[in-house]
Symmetry: C2
Subunit: 338 residues, 2 copies
DNA sequence: TTGTAGGCGTTATCAA
DNA sequence: TTGATAACGCCTACAA
């Protein structure tokens, strides 16, 4: 490893001078500058980030801590944030917690102590108290459906409203017997004010039904499963096999919706002629599947912009009260609804 | 920020003792140990990674430098590598170069100087000489279709053989007029030994045709476009509109194949009854699309295991001659072929 | 315009 | 069993 000291020795200057040159300090004369730069080039110098960080306290990187990168939604979030952060002059360091509380704490600790100037963090197991303990004052933006705190800026997703919108659209197109994938039935009054992402979606579904004079009934709720293609596919196939009478499926996310589309194809059910399907998220895959997916699509670029801007403001010392941030989103009508 | 010195003061021991305790050094007595740990807990201490790295030279992290995270193939690679690296006790730091030579060099420099003990790197713009200069001796595994060097372990993809396999399968099912998405026509003899990933695939296509007594002709080659859904969709729609007579499409990757499926659906062409489609990669999306995709599927877990194991061996001082590594892969027959 | 020197938080050697 | 102490590579007053 070649250090500034090596360059200094080689160029016949002090190590401090090298540092100044590499920081474009104007007080260094052109000849010295050139000489140092030439040597640095020749020795193929690259700065030691640990040393710089240790000394300066700045990393010029932001941490993005997600649960995993396995699902398209997370991937698109990660992609959009990386791209925008880069435009703002920051490296993005992506880390996954794999839904393990230990990993979460460990990663936050590492990140807190160094590696990055701020964190965009999607919590799973940790509660706000624990998060605060780990984050310990480091600038942060939370990606969370719930805004159970007033300690951090939080990117919210309009779950209730989104599912209300997709369900309402379905009903406006004449559907009367929608299924919801995936949750067990719960009484509307028990969940209407829930802070939980899933229950918010269930509540949106029910509110749309009620608004249209339909009373939600337990048969409409498909059992709780993973929010992924495979679970959704298996579940909907099972529903068709058991002879469930439905004319549409409201899905908790796009990935599930794509599994539902697949499962209906397995059963020879035509979409949208026999059954309509709506998703939630707006992942790219939904544009290109057959049939393409009607969904409540988030604007990922807007999401990334707002999250990163908020974080960088905090890094730069903004101490306004933490606030909730919502990205733009809208209903996108495609082929999966009639 | 709370440091070891703070703990030491609070616990009435030296800072060195704190370090020993936090490293589970057996020479520290139980009472001292407990006292220090209690204080550390209370002060919510977390280690400063920069300082540790600067001093010890070890990070316990590996860097994964990809071109982008926008396509499912890269995402699945990143996912699999992160998961396996974690099992081997390493954090994975994912970085994207966005196909910009500058970013590539910059990221490698940062990573070289610190942040991680080794790098899994997918080069785009940089040539081997430049890579070597940036990497500067840091343990590395290259993800690259070409093995133009004997300086690094390199994960190879069986491009020629893979496309040969998918094309041969198509022909064995009675197809006689396959299209190739996407490349311009090139004479077989000019490309059969190419080191380039794309030309290897084209060569595989042609070799399969020749083996079956079919002479490749320019009309079979769809113009060069991006290897993504949208380009493929537009291209195949155009091909159908112009009345091109074909009975199958060999795609350069799965993402393109999914775009082709979509484009054919746009035109009312049935798959596989009218046209068969094969992909290359084995991304998850191919399992669940309609129709599901016949493809030459890589075993991503095997890929990750081999890449990470090789890298960790190097980190641990293995100095065997660099070698080429190929992950398991196999033809997966699904619904998109007749 | 350039050099000297101290310290960022840790690890690790050596001595006590 | 524990404590001094000297780096690791870089940044930045301050001095020259």
């Amino acid at each position: 490893m070649v250090t500034m000291r090596d360059i200094a020795r080689e160029a016949g200057v002090s190590q401090a001078t090298v540092s100044y040159v590499l920081h474009n300090d104007p007080s260094i004369s052109k000849p010295t500058r050139d000489k140092v730069l030439r040597v640095a080039q020749r020795l193929n110098y690259s700065i030691n980030v640990s040393a710089r960080t240790l000394r300066s306290g700045r990393t010029n990187a932001i941490g993005l801590v997600l649960q995993d990168l396995h699902n398209p939604y997370s991937t698109q979030v990660a992609d959009a944030i990386s791209v925008y952060a880069r435009r703002r002059g920051y490296q993005t360091i992506i880390q996954q917690t794999f839904y393990e509380g230990d990993a979460e704490a460990e990663i936050l600790q590492h990140i807190v102590s160094s590696m990055c100037d701020g964190v965009i963090f999607s919590p799973s197991k940790l509660n706000v108290r624990e998060i605060m303990a780990q984050l310990n004052g480091k600038p942060s933006v939370l990606l969370s459906p719930v805004c159970e705190n007033h300690s951090y800026d939080t990117m919210l997703v309009a779950c209730e409203q989104g599912i209300f919108t997709t369900t309402s659209y379905l009903l406006s197109r004449g559907c009367r017997r929608p299924l919801f994938y995936c949750s067990r039935y719960a009484d509307f009054d028990d969940i209407r004010d829930s802070a939980d992402s899933k229950w918010q979606r269930v509540a949106g579904f029910q509110r749309a039904l009620l608004r249209n004079g339909i009373t939600p009934e337990p048969w409409q709720f498909l059992p709780e499963r993973h929010w992924n293609r495979r679970s959704a596919r298996e579940t909907i196939v099972e529903a068709v096999r058991t002879g469930l009478d439905f004319d549409s499926v409201v899905c908790i996310n796009d990935e599930s919706a794509i599994g539902v589309l697949r499962g209906l194809a397995d059963c020879g059910v035509r979409v949208p002629q026999d059954v309509s399907v709506v998703g939630f998220d707006g992942i790219e895959e939904g544009e290109c599947c057959v049939p393409s997916l009607t969904t409540f699509a988030m604007d990922f670029d807007d999401f990334a912009r707002k999250a990163v801007d908020a974080l960088i403001d905090r890094i730069n010392g903004d101490d306004a009260a933490p606030h909730a941030i919502i990205a733009n989103s809208r209903l996108v009508v495609r082929e999966s609804t009639r």
